[in-house]
Subunit: 499 residues, 2 copies
């Protein structure tokens, strides 16, 4: 029943010559190729015939569906309702908010014709929906009694990106975008932070096992048209940062442009305050790059499309029968316990199946052979540590698998946090900063003082490719010298190379 | 606690002068206006600034979400997996299937520009995805072992329609589209029928309480590129038909155009057989037009966003307190029993609230006043019969409400079936046929023999506006004379004016 794989040699899945290869997986040192291999070879997604668009295959979509459900639960639990707004938006809407048009105009797709008819006014395909939603909100909001207005939509959006990578940056992607309207600045700010921490951070850390740093974006990195943008930054397996979700306090910018006004309780007509916030299929890329290892994906159990895979092992027909009985029983008890389980009855050697499901990151493998059937037991193997095999009595399987899934979820989080801590540095001067950013093998987050000057930020980026990921919400006491210019600084920033 | 409404007068919700009007609702005789009023005044949807596109508001979207969940369960239970394919499709793909391009080219939206760049090959926005999915399937299907391939996608699609109506026909709409690949013609046909009956018919009848007739479309009404199209036809409250879902056996047409081939077990390379099938937000229109009455919507309990609304009744503060205690208890017990419940504590008169929730079609109203609080009881009022008030002890509320919801679900179905039966006629000759189709007050389905000639079908349509909705799966024995031309006919058809 032992696995047949030797992952350490060359990073390939199968090194044994007599075993059919499952898939070749690039060495993790070539992180970009390793990432692409994982996406395509595990059948999470495929390339499409349309530039920059991907096809999300059933295994990837099942992961996304689990993520959607758990994030949607949190969005609703905090008082938001779902709605749906049009895919197309009239050109004139884009131009209403000055910063917004500047940020998005270069990357919108234009519908100019329908059937054989040229459209009088071209429509753009939503890259985000502040404009069309703002237009509707202006009609729905009349009085302070209509506020707050707390809506979210699950939708596809399109941004014509120059360089695309599956999940991380695609021309079309799936996401949710929340859009809220408030009576006061304080309420809008409270909403922005509620979403950032209670919805997104809680979701990313508890469901995706991805530890994140919550913080404020610098002016140059904020959303086009926002007053303040907050983000959650995660460290990927190569030490780069992935902005995993964003929450924007839009101030009165969009309310002013789209005329969202209300009569307050004092009788005065006032301009409202709005927020918007989004999280996308990009998070799938985060799951891959945070948890994946040399053998393939490692799915966080809470969102894994398959949480446990049963691999039956037999040689003779009479063995198959005894094994099948126990497999059916175990599968039934796991399903009854709410575990997403699958039995792999393909006519392939066990070692091939082990590698197949390891590549796909299934958290728990359950091996059931003739001796197991005889003894009324099964063997559990966690994806996080193949050597940690556990023999379990048939009656205890559901309970033990559930416990093991929780354990694996925690392990993935702990390992990711440990990795991030080990790759987080403090730079006291610019030389140290540059050295850290140039060291590919130790690449990570560099924390340092920043003077707040956009020119400094731009130079650091030009010289090291590192950007300010965020100013963490938890700032140290006091102040220091800007890591670049040495001027007195009160802002503590996290720098990193980023996706 | 009595209602304050008199629906019979003029079809308005509130006729009492001293009561604040909730909304004016058009008389049901003006069915088109009544429909539009229901859509907009119940806040199911709103008009958008984009031609032919609607905004689905939270109340409408919650209904759609419930529908999606229940339909998705059935799609998965029958072995299908969800995936996601690109919104944009290259122009060349449209032209590959001759009938398909003819059917869809006039109504597709074209993306010709991105940012400032003119696209070398324009992309069309999917009106349906057979083409791009066919292209992917050709790559994924190699061997008979890869079959059947059973995928579904939930997506938005765009069809540039001349005349639009909210939910029924909109430029953009939401739907699911299933696309499957099979080894044999028989398997493709079995899949087509499985989806039609076990998935769609079961969903429409059990969840939406809409009785449907399952049947084959005539050649002129079938999907562009299909071998055979089957549909489910429902009768609306004005006697017109709504095609509520369709299932297509595509034969080898798309497989041939997109090169979906497989090596069979006999070693031969064969062309595959495919199906596709879809159901959309159009079904929301069906729910409105089948169940709505002079007081507003009537939501089928299984999909109702709010299944029970609690209306507290009080005058003095000390009354409010006692009522609030019981309201909280009842709300808690209903929620624990899985009932979607809401308490309406607005500072409005009870009669206003009754009308408000009747208009929105909430199946059960729960009235709780001071005397009820004292006696530990509540009053249940079904939306289907306001006079049928039921006083229920507090301990029994959850059980009784659940039972009442099931009863209302059945009542809605029974009433719709009764209505359809009463409006279904048999025409023995064309004069009778014409008379029936001309009688607006009795308009309905007319069953008759049809010779199978498209010319006859076209003339009937030109002369009466009636189309063949389908040839029901259950055909009578024997044959008769075509209702139009009198020639011997073996096909029994259902004719109706349709949406």
């Amino acid at each position: 029943m032992a696995g047949n794989t030797d992952k350490k040699s060359k990073g390939h899945i199968n090194a044994k010559a007599d075993e059919k290869f499952v898939e070749d997986l690039a060495d993790r040192d070539d992180f970009a190729q390793w990432y692409q291999d994982l996406v395509y070879k595990t059948e999470l997604a495929d390339e499409s015939p349309v530039r920059g668009c991907m096809v999300i295959r059933p295994y990837g979509y099942a992961l996304w569906e689990n993520m959607v459900r758990l994030l949607d639960d949190r969005i609703k639990a905090t008082g938001h309702e779902n709605a749906y707004f049009p895919l197309f938006i009239p050109r004139s809407f884009l131009e209403r908010e000055a910063e917004h048009v500047e940020g998005f105009a270069p990357e919108v797709a234009w519908v100019t014709r329908a059937g054989k008819e040229e459209l009088a006014e071209p429509l753009f395909v939503r890259p985000t929906s502040e404009t069309v939603i703002g237009h509707m909100y202006a009609q729905w909001v009349q009085s302070y009694r209509d506020l707050p207005l707390l809506y979210n939509q699950w939708a596809n959006v399109v941004r014509w990106e120059k360089r695309t990578r599956p999940f991380l940056r695609t021309t079309e992607f799936l996401w949710q975008e929340g859009h809220t309207v408030h009576r006061t600045e304080d309420e809008a700010q409270a909403e922005t932070m509620l979403i950032l921490q209670q919805v997104y951070q809680d979701f990313l850390e508890k469901e995706l096992a991805i530890p994140v740093i919550a913080g404020l974006k610098s002016e140059s990195e904020k959303f086009a048209g926002a007053l303040r943008t907050y983000s959650l930054e995660a460290m990927m397996g190569d030490g780069k940062a992935l902005q995993s979700a964003t929450s924007h306090n839009l101030g009165q910018n969009f309310a002013r442009s789209f005329d969202i006004k209300f009569q307050d309780s004092d009788g005065e007509v006032k301009i409202a305050w709005t927020t918007s916030w989004g999280a996308s299929t990009r998070m799938v890329g985060g799951v891959i790059m945070v948890h994946g290892d040399t053998s393939g994906l490692r799915m966080p159990p809470r969102v894994a499309p398959i949480q446990a895979v049963i691999v039956p092992i037999w040689r003779k027909d009479e063995e198959r029968e005894a094994v099948a009985t126990l497999v059916a029983e175990v599968e039934g008890s796991l399903r009854a316990a709410g575990v997403r389980v699958k039995s792999d009855w393909r006519e392939e050697r066990p070692g091939f199946k082990y590698s197949h499901w390891e590549l796909r990151g299934v958290p728990v493998r359950i091996e059931i052979g003739p001796r197991d059937a005889q003894n009324g037991q099964v063997v559990l193997v966690p994806r996080t540590d193949r050597s940690d095999k556990r023999t379990v009595a048939r009656e205890a399987v559901a309970e033990r698998v559930s416990a093991l899934l929780a354990e694996i979820q925690q392990t993935l989080y702990d390992q990711a946090l440990e990795f991030r801590k080990g790759r987080t540095y403090t730079a006291n001067d610019y030389e140290e900063f540059q050295t850290l950013m140039a060291d590919r093998d130790r690449l990570g987050f560099v924390e340092a003082w920043w003077c707040g000057d956009a020119a400094c930020e731009a130079q650091i980026k030009a010289e090291t490719q590192a950007t300010i990921r965020c100013l963490p919400l938890e700032q140290p006491e006091g102040n220091g010298a800007c890591v670049h210019c040495g001027r007195p600084s009160s802002a503590w920033a996290v720098f990193a190379k980023a996706y």
